[in-house]
């Protein structure tokens, strides 16, 4: 891994360690719940088992990856299906100000690591694209997503689009289609001087094949670059075998 990527990983880790302590304090003060221990998802560390070898297993189709209207970070309208065309796609949902240690920062770090590893492999480099869609069109405008993407990518050569939507109305069917559960914090809605939105959400990342079928869904327990790399390779090997037939 390059020096730059190590630096970025350290910055992300410092951020989430800070957030981890905040989460711990909030929960510890609750009268109605036991004190949970601060917990970092497996994706932040070394995988505690050997990821199954690429191509040694099948990933059955879970369903069709649905289409949807999005905005690219330069403001251009686009369709999800068009962006997925011809490549294995890894799709995640985040929001710019998400500070859940095991939420968006985790998925962003895992995707960043995945992207670097794929970029380093000439056989895979042009076979995978990553799409990250914001939950929060109110604050995550194309400009914000562009800035966010640049802050993550730096000069890394990764095929990764940071997307948003025109409105919550346009976002809603995408979230529904992908069964991405999101709950907006009501306190923010009631606040007169709202500076940001907060969401509670189940972390999900989707692996989509070249036929636009969802082939795996990852939550925090299994979201790890080692697993994702081998799953992407498995789909590429499968596609190559099919085209050779």
């Amino acid at each position: 891994m390059s020096k730059l990527s190590e630096q970025r990983k350290r910055v992300l880790l410092a951020l989430v360690l800070l957030m981890s302590s905040l989460i711990h304090n909030v929960d510890a003060s609750s009268e109605s719940s036991p004190t949970p221990e601060a917990y970092l998802a497996p994706g932040w560390g070394k995988l505690s088992f050997d990821a199954p070898l690429a191509g040694s297993y099948n990933l059955p189709a879970i369903g069709q990856a649905e289409d949807g209207a999005v905005l690219k970070s330069n403001g251009d309208p686009a369709r999800l299906h068009k962006l997925m065309d011809g490549k294995v796609t890894v799709l995640s949902f985040v929001y710019r100000t998400c500070d859940d240690v095991n939420g968006c920062p985790l998925s962003t770090m895992v995707l960043y690591t995945l992207g670097n590893r794929i970029a380093e492999d000439p056989a895979l480099k042009d076979r995978m694209r990553m799409l990250t869609v914001s939950f929060d069109p109110e604050f995550d405008t194309p400009d914000v997503m562009a800035e966010y993407g640049e802050s993550i990518l730096g000069d890394a050569d990764i095929d990764w689009e940071f997307l948003t939507t025109n409105s919550e109305t346009e976002l809603a069917p995408i979230l529904k289609d992908y069964q991405q559960s999101v709950v907006k914090d009501r306190r923010q809605e009631e606040s007169v001087e709202k500076e940001r939105n907060r969401f509670s959400h189940i972390l999900r990342v989707y692996l989509i094949d070249e036929q636009k079928q969802i082939r795996n869904i990852y939550s925090l327990s299994f979201l790890h670059p080692d697993i994702l790399v081998n799953d992407v390779k498995t789909l590429v090997m499968e596609a190559d075998a099919a085209s050779a037939d």
């Binding site: 069964q179 914090d185 306190r187």
Partner: protein, 459 residues
């Protein structure tokens, strides 16, 4: 960051939907993939068998209010009948807790309830009535276990001989079939290591341990037996041979079986430890009344061993449901025949010690405990043809508090007197999972706000 007590409580409830950690569960036996309730549950959903001659005679989902602060605390607030009897048995929530899946062991129908639109009033979202055909012949949908964005179902039987050979069947959260994974057998071990005498291909429960990429299954018996009268079956030596004697550890990611363990006497429920360093799971054998431990040894190899007896095995107390505590130090074991809840100290998982027991009823099957272990709920029914007869066939939901030394009854609901049926599996629900305020708290807050406005107006 400044929080007052109210906002802290709200933050606690919000944590429900995050599922941030495998150590934050409500029911301590649920999938680590699932969204978690950190605090007080509002509802218990009881999947209930319809009984002939009782009420509408249909299987139904019964919703009970269990939050002591609720005005309707301790009562049935909703029933949703599904139009017939199916041998209602187990149920399970999806990882986002939007849907509750509930199965019928006889009809092979699966009912998917929407519990998120209004958690106080579940609705029937979808009925799957082609499970056998879609799965390639699997019968008896039993455990419904949440994985990321999908449900893994264990079968109990098959449509070829209605014996115990069966499979795992995978569906999307909203009910679309994905894949079938048959249990390893002597005929086809599928690459698994057979560590003892048996590779019977039977199935029952399933649990996952993502941190070790492991999945575990146990084994019961086929349709021929579980639909037979219990007394008749006990007198039938051939039928008694047709019980599972195995547990299997699988590669969770690839869904491939890795090792088959001998576990004589029908190992049923599986409960895995929560702490990252505790790489082991318990199960109990129904017919031989033993606690078994599946554990990872120092070489990283999965092993299984019997670690203790439950009651007097010669009397066949029939251990059924079990529940591990959040700190991994305790294991509740219910024995059906004597109606006892038994608490085992399992701080040394290789040497469980029973430290408490209490008779809950004339028969006893399921338990669900809160994450903090302070509340435990019990129900009575095992299988329609296996439940006791006459007056001994008590059918109840009982709510207890547990102070670490004894169980204290808070309230109970007589499912026969209420004409509901036979009470089986319980799952928890809460408003906070879906960003909803509890109605009675919202009403109180509105009154407070109104009072303050009046005060200001009067000044």
């Amino acid at each position: 960051m400044k929080f007052n007590l109210k906002s802290m409580a709200y933050a606690s409830v919000l944590a429900l939907a995050l599922g941030v950690s495998a150590t934050q569960a409500d029911e301590t036996c649920m999938s680590p993939y699932m969204a978690k309730i950190v605090g007080q549950e509002d509802f218990v959903y009881v999947w209930t068998l319809g009984e002939e001659g009782l009420g509408d005679e249909q299987d139904k989902l019964v919703t009970i209010s269990v939050n002591p602060s609720a005005p309707d605390y301790g009562t049935v607030i909703e029933t949703l009948s599904v139009g017939g009897r199916n041998e209602a048995h187990h149920s399970g929530l999806t990882d986002d807790r939007h849907y509750l899946w509930a199965g019928g062991l006889d009809s092979n129908k699966i009912f998917i309830f929407d519990v998120h639109s209004d958690p106080a009033k579940p609705t029937l979202f979808k009925t799957i009535d082609d499970f056998v055909a879609k799965s390639g012949g699997v019968v008896g949908p039993h455990t419904f276990y949440a994985l990321a964005g999908r449900i893994m179902i264990t079968g109990l039987s098959n449509n070829a001989d209605h014996g115990g050979r069966t499979a795992l069947v995978e569906y999307t959260n909203t009910g679309d079939y994905i894949a079938t994974h048959w249990m390893p057998t002597d005929d086809n071990l599928q690459g698994a290591i057979k560590s003892g005498q048996f590779a019977d291909g039977y199935g029952y429960d399933l649990r996952a341990m993502p941190r070790r990429n492991a999945m575990f299954t146990s084994s019961f018996t086929g349709w021929n037996n579980y639909m037979m009268d219990f007394g008749t079956m006990l007198q039938d030596p051939e039928a008694m041979k047709r019980f599972g004697n195995t547990a299997v550890v699988w590669d969770l990611h690839t869904r491939k079986p890795k090792k088959v363990f001998d576990m004589p006497g029908a190992p049923l429920e599986i409960r895995c430890a929560w702490k990252p360093e505790n790489n082991y799971c318990f199960t109990t054998t129904a017919l031989t009344s033993q606690i078994w431990l599946m554990y990872e040894d120092e070489e990283g190899e999965w092993q299984a061993q019997a670690v203790g007896d439950i009651g007097d095995p010669s009397k066949i107390p029939l251990p059924v449901d079990i529940s591990i505590t959040a700190d991994d130090n305790g294991l509740w074991v219910q024995t059906f025949m004597d109606g006892k809840a038994r608490y085992f100290d399992v701080s040394d998982p290789f040497a469980p010690k029973q430290t408490y027991e209490k008779v809950i009823g004339s028969q006893l099957n399921m338990i669900s405990q809160s994450w903090d272990g302070k509340r435990a709920y019990f129900t009575s029914s095992l299988l329609d043809n296996w439940d006791k007869k006459g007056e001994a066939d008590e059918q109840f939901f009982k709510s207890y508090t547990w102070n670490g030394e004894e169980l204290n009854l808070e309230f109970e609901i007589d499912f026969k007197a209420e004409k509901l049926g036979s009470a089986h599996q319980m799952r928890f629900g809460a408003y906070g999972l879906y960003g909803m305020e509890r109605p009675w708290e919202a009403a109180a807050a509105a009154v407070n706000k109104s009072d303050k406005s009046s005060d200001l107006a009067a000044q």
